[in-house]
Amino acid sequence: MTKRIHVSTTVNGDEVDYLCDPRETLLDCLRDHLGVMGVKEGCGTGDCGACSVTLDGRLVCSCLVLGVEAEGKEIGTVEGMADGEVLHPLQRKFIEHAALQCGICTPGILVAAKNLLERNPDPTETELRYWLAGNLCRCTGYDKIIRAVMDAAAEMREAS
């Protein structure tokens, strides 16, 4: 058996640590060792974006990061978006626009959209569609998702 490695990292601002096999992905570590279930496994090969998280502020697929690589990093997941009971504007707009059905792709899309709006609070629809090209949805289709994000972006600009 491969020796397990101790990893200390930060998830949504909380310091955490876990022991992992070096072959385990960050996705598996988040779900299986830390119980962060908002991170979803879709394809497991970086194509679908369901496992999207931020790693030191950079959007990545957590299935394409090893758990050991998270040492000393800051990870952001969908669990870090709401402020207690108050949903993030993106989450609220996804509900208002019915931008989800089964919900598997939703956490990844929310994390990805939040990361875009932090970099560019006023994206064009084209920029948004390219940004989310790596987040696949197999039920809703994309129009409602795009409308929800554009609407949230507009609201967030007005609020700031």
């Binding site: 070096p22 992905t25 090969t45 990061v65 390219y130 989310l132 090209a133």
Partner: protein, 288 residues
């Protein structure tokens, strides 16, 4: 699997040289982790090179060129305005790889060493005249990018050798480069044909050129005949015809579901023509 995180390239090289089984270097991981997951490659030793100082840096060289660290992700290149201004073709080749998420991790050197004939970052580097620094048990050497891939999935790197940086030459005056690829959709696909052109002008006349093709042979190609077809011209119609013919003539593609031999050969000429026009406009200082 043993996970190593060496703090120098010499140490990384020594681990790889002494390893008995399968070894992989880990930077962005966008190929290594997919292979691991699919049980295509399960390394006995995985050597994470991201703890080596300087691997995340984009730096100017003394001669006015660029040195790109081996763990610099595509998104970091795209965000470097000066690099984009100097070498838009090199950057746009890298930027075409994968999604936003993949851009957050994938690297130039990973794309090169994965050895895919269709690697989008490679023709741009070849056309630009990039070199890579290779460190191994025998010491360090500088190698032209076109001499690294030797066939699908294969490189010229010996056991214990690894690439430690990419050097892009100084842009210099009146130069421009461009990369175009054909895919049957608008985003997130593997190149059916890729073409990069890099050239320099004296007035309206092309004085230097390098043309590289991807996905039309077992490795990305540096096509000398295509460069010769436009050197000394003002990129007039006759020169463009000669360029397209030379690019098509250099093709030795496979026939598969993404493109037939005939299609790839034709499209190589079309893309060479279009990429040359963009590079020419950029060399003139126009937005293209």
């Amino acid at each position: 699997m043993n996970y190593h995180s060496p703090s120098s390239f010499e140490e990384a090289s020594a681990i790889a040289a002494q390893a008995g089984g399968t070894t992989r270097f880990l930077a962005g991981g966008t190929d290594v982790l997919v292979q691991l997951r699919a049980d295509i490659v399960t390394p006995d030793d995985l050597i994470d090179i991201k703890h080596i100082p300087g691997v995340k840096e984009i730096a100017r060289t003394d001669g006015g060129g660029w040195r790109i660290g081996v763990a610099v992700a595509g998104a970091e290149m795209t965000e470097c305005a000066e690099l984009c201004a100097d070498w838009p073709g090199v950057v746009e080749g890298m930027d075409l790889i994968g999604s936003t998420q993949v851009q957050g991790r994938a690297t130039l050197v990973g794309n090169l060493c994965n050895g895919s004939p269709a690697a989008d970052a490679v023709p741009g580097m070849i056309a630009a005249g990039c070199t890579v620094t290779v460190t191994g048990p025998e010491g360090t050497r500088e190698v032209a990018v076109e001499d690294i891939p030797t066939g699908p999935g294969k490189t010229a790197l010996a056991k214990g050798e690894l690439i430690t940086a990419v050097t892009i030459p100084a842009r210099g005056e009146n130069g421009g480069d461009a990369y175009l690829r054909f895919i049957p959709r608008t985003e997130m696909d593997i190149a059916v044909v890729g073409c990069a052109v890099n050239l320099r002008l004296d007035g309206d006349t092309i004085t230097e050129a390098r043309v590289s093709l991807g996905a039309v042979a077992p490795t990305a190609l540096l096509v000398e005949e295509a460069a010769q077809a436009i050197i000394g011209t003002t990129l007039d119609d006759a020169a463009l015809d000669a360029l397209a013919a030379a690019a098509s003539a250099a093709c030795n593609p496979i026939d598969d579901k993404r493109g037939t031999i005939e299609f790839r050969t034709h499209v190589a000429g079309v893309l060479a023509r279009r990429a040359a026009k963009i590079a020419y406009a950029r060399a003139k200082g126009e937005n293209a």
